[in-house]
Amino acid sequence: MHASLPDANTLIVQLADVIAPALTPDTLIVGIHTGGVWVAERLHALLSCSQPLGTLDISFYRDDFSRIGLHPQVKPSNLPFDLEDRAILLVDDVLHSGRTVRAAMNELFDYGRPASIRLAVLVDRGGHELPIRPDFAGLSITVPDHRNINLSRLDDGHLTLTLA
């Protein structure tokens, strides 16, 4: 059923073009581990953001913890700034149910009270289970629930989207 997915690297450039006019100089970019961090790193460079890049591992905030347990590889969250009253651009690779974004917002608020949070995703694949929608999306498509879109990174840094 599927046509091949667009090139992830081209999508990120397009996404940056959409975000650029809406971005204030003091906006903090925060990527969600792991794929969201890859996208956030690219956006951070493309948008020439002068603020340090933040990363979040939402393992401690997942709502399915009691069913599936702790992820065996939890990475530290790293927010090298005070986010009180700041504008945040939260970045993830694929938006599906919206549960990851909810967990990420809960974690952000444990660091302080941001002025605003906007959401940028590389792919919005539909199947939302929460009232969470992206402010910026590189690609919006509808993918059946039993299929997965994955972002992977090669050793040379090249990003690839695959439908499994």
């Binding site: 393992s59 401690f60 913890f65 599936i68 444990d110």
Partner: protein, 317 residues
């Protein structure tokens, strides 16, 4: 079969570091690293164990261990109940398993157990329902696994790796559950040389079989060490005629700046607490630049958070 692991190899109870796979120990240390930053934030809590009840069952007194377990559980958003059983029903003769059954009926999800009897935590772990986890917070002379783990976390933080280290454990190894847990963890993590230093009367017979080198002369034992772990000398040992006096002990086995100078210049000094200043360690060393004794206490919170988070995630809840 390892009673500490579930069928799919995840941590089910934490009872001893003896036989705990290296991958699990490393996972605990890595997870603890992620929890370190929670203690620095505006809100020092994560919602992971919301709605879970953790009972601290202390049949033997403790301040530091019980407090750090309590803080760790609270930072995971669990509800914590502290029971100092020495002063409650046990004195009325209630059997240990009746106590556990009663608390299970109050919907406990985890027991943190300290007991003067070796094997007490194992005994409770065999008895509890499948969704309940047990953490050994010290049983007799047998094991104190979370202390051993926080010591490994401390060594890794200051030394980076384990495969190139010489580590000395000094003092009353015979009565020390901490030393046993440390030795198991150090050998599992691949420390090439673990030494124990102490008078013959305070080292267990056959301790060499745990894979350690034995020294009765402290100067020789400290030479070239990267890590020096001092053990608490319990005063009651003096009464049992194992030692002449605390002054005499300090002279031969107390860590002074002069003796520490024989270890590597960047050696770190550790102690599980509480310290007897002027008995096993001089104040100049305990408060000196090579001491990491207070960081050990801070790290203990993150390590206990990691253990409890991994255990709670393995339950069938």
């Amino acid at each position: 079969m390892n009673p500490q692991l579930s069928q799919d190899g995840r941590l089910r109870h934490l009872l001893t570091l003896d036989g705990l796979p290296r991958a699990i120990i490393t996972q605990i240390l890595d997870t603890a690293e992620s929890f370190m930053d929670v203690g620095e934030r505006e809100v020092k809590k994560v919602p992971l164990l919301r709605g879970k009840s953790i009972f601290n069952l202390f049949f033997e007194p403790s301040t530091r261990t019980r407090t750090t377990f309590e803080i760790a559980a609270k930072r995971l958003s669990a509800d914590v109940v502290n029971l100092n059983i020495a002063t409650s029903s046990q004195t009325k003769g209630e059997a240990i398993l009746d106590t556990v059954d009663n608390l299970s009926a109050m919907h406990a999800d985890m027991f943190v157990v300290r007991h003067a009897q070796s094997g007490a935590a194992h005994f409770i772990a065999q008895h509890v329902a499948p969704h309940i986890s047990v953490v050994n917070a010290g049983d007799g002379r047998h094991a104190h696994p979370t202390q051993g783990l926080l010591d490994m976390f401390t060594i890794r933080r200051f030394k980076g790796e384990f495969h190139n280290l010489t580590v000395a454990i000094v003092g009353d190894v015979l009565h020390s559950r901490v030393a046993r847990s440390q030795i198991h963890a150090l050998t599992t993590l691949g420390v090439p040389e673990v030494r124990v230093i102490g008078p013959k009367t305070l080292l267990p017979t056959g301790v060499e079989q745990m894979g350690v080198r034995v020294f009765h002369d402290m100067e020789a034992g400290l030479a070239g060490c990267d890590v020096v772990i001092m053990l608490r000398l319990q005063n009651e040992r003096m009464k049992g005629a194992r030692l002449p006096s605390s002054q005499e002990y300090f002279k031969f086995f107390g860590l002074t700046p002069e003796k520490l100078a024989l270890a590597r210049p960047d050696a770190i000094v550790m102690h599980p607490g509480p310290m007897n200043r002027g008995v096993e360690i001089a104040s100049e060393v305990a408060d000196g630049p090579q001491s990491v004794i207070l960081p050990q206490v801070t790290y203990g919170i993150a390590v206990r958070m990691a253990v409890m988070a991994m255990l709670a995630g393995t339950g069938n809840a």
